[in-house]
Structures are given as structure tokens and as C-alpha cells.
Symmetry: C2
Subunit: 137 residues, 2 copies
């Protein structure tokens, strides 16, 4: 994973929760929804199907681990899980906690409402229990 670097747009829009064996776990700085992003730390990945079978299985394990933690911490009504990558080509998986009262429900979150950055302290109050639940140091 020596040649891997996080895409600058992902870096700019997120905070870093830590690394799982394959993926970096990010939280999107958009307080409209608790929104995590997993980025496999291997260079030149674009599509989910670019991963070899072992890495794909590992990613699925990590998606499950993070999605369960997100649901547990937020008590959300629905999870949205997606690998799109039309705007940012580096392979990344969105894991988003949705509520029937959130800003975009029932629509998908992309291009729904303007980003609302977290206030000081608000982000820490989300990150701390998520790190514990995911098992990130």
C-alpha cells in the first residue's frame, strides 16, 4: 500500500477515523447525514470489480463491520451503501445512515441538499462512539 494516496477531494471533504486491514475509514463532513466512506488502500482502483477475489471479500467484511457500527451508533432507519465514483474516480464505498426525517428522504443523498459542515464538537461526538464500535484505536 506504499504507492496509495487518498484522492485530494476525499481528503478535503472528510475526517479520518482510522484504517482497517484494507480500507481507510472516513466520515464525510456533512452533518445532514451520518455518512462514512471506505477507501481500499491500493493504488489505481476504480471499480469494485477491479479488486481480486480476496480483496473483494475483505472489503465486504469491512463494509459489514462499518455498516453495523453505523447502524448501532446512530439507530438509523435505513442504510444506503454505494460505489459510484462518477465524480471522484478513486474507488470508494459510501455507507450512509438514513432517517425518515432526514433532509433528502426518501431520495438518495447525492445532489439533494447543500452540504452542512459539522460544528465544533459535533463531529467528535459522532466519531468517538463510531471508532469504539468499529474497533479503531
Amino acid at each position: 500500500m506504499a504507492n496509495w494516496r487518498l484522492h485530494p477531494q476525499l481528503d478535503r471533504d472528510t475526517a479520518n477515523l482510522g484504517d482497517l486491514p484494507l480500507s481507510r475509514v472516513l466520515v464525510n463532513n456533512d452533518a445532514n447525514y451520518p455518512w462514512l466512506i471506505l477507501v481500499p488502500r491500493k493504488p489505481d482502483l476504480v471499480e469494485l470489480i477491479d479488486l481480486d477475489e480476496a480483496a473483494q471479500a475483505q472489503l465486504m467484511t469491512e463494509v459489514t463491520r462499518v455498516a453495523r457500527a453505523l447502524r448501532e451508533v446512530t439507530a438509523c432507519h435505513k442504510l444506503n451503501i454505494a460505489a459510484l465514483g462518477n465524480a471522484v474516480p478513486q474507488l470508494h464505498v459510501h455507507i450512509i445512515a438514513r432517517f425518515r426525517h432526514d433532509a433528502a428522504w426518501p431520495n438518495p443523498v447525492w445532489n439533494a441538499v447543500a452540504r452542512r459542515v459539522y460544528r465544533r464538537g459535533e463531529l467528535e461526538r459522532l466519531i468517538t462512539p463510531l471508532r469504539a464500535s468499529i474497533g479503531l484505536a
Copy 2:
């Protein structure tokens, strides 16, 4: 899989390509994008993380098989893969072929432009090579 039934909205909006060991493969009747949907044929599934580990691995195998076929047949520029389920609660995975000249690019497809149903013959010309490439009878 005796107690499983396809959700009526998915049934109404799609054509049936056939069954893989776990999932039914559907094509969304929206000619704006070549758009497949996988539905695991087990009752009462809502979230990806509701699947046990073996079924999750099988679903990932089937997503890969279908996504590779879709890319091969359409020569698309990008794949979009997503499990959302805010509107239709039955677990289903979207696998969408995206082009830099398509109706919604670079935005996600949901709520982007009005559905355009396939003309007679047009759907068959997509389904026939897809069935062959996926390996559905």
C-alpha cells in the same frame, strides 16, 4: 426460497433476465441507462448486512459476475453499484452502466431524468447478449 416473492414495484418496473443461485436478475425498464438489479431470493431481507456471511459472499460473487457482463456488453465508462432501498424495502442491488454522455452524468441516476421505457425490440437487443454474457439460460 419458497416464501420469497418479488416486490410488486420491482416486478412492474423491470423485465426478468433469469435466476442466479441466490439472486433474480432484472433489467430496469429505463432506456436512459443499461440498468440491472439483483434481488436475493430470500424472504424478509432489507439490509445488505441482514445476509449471513455465506449469502453475502454469494451476493458479491453474483454482483461481480453481472457487473463484468454489463461492462463487457455495453462498453460503459463507469459502473454504479448501490443498495439503497429507501423507496422499495426489499433488498436489491442496482448495477448501472454509466456513460459520460448519458442523461444524468456525472450525477447519480435516481431522480435525475424521467424514465424512458424501451421501445419494442430495443429491450431484447440488450437482454440477449446480457443473458449470454452472464450465463443465464
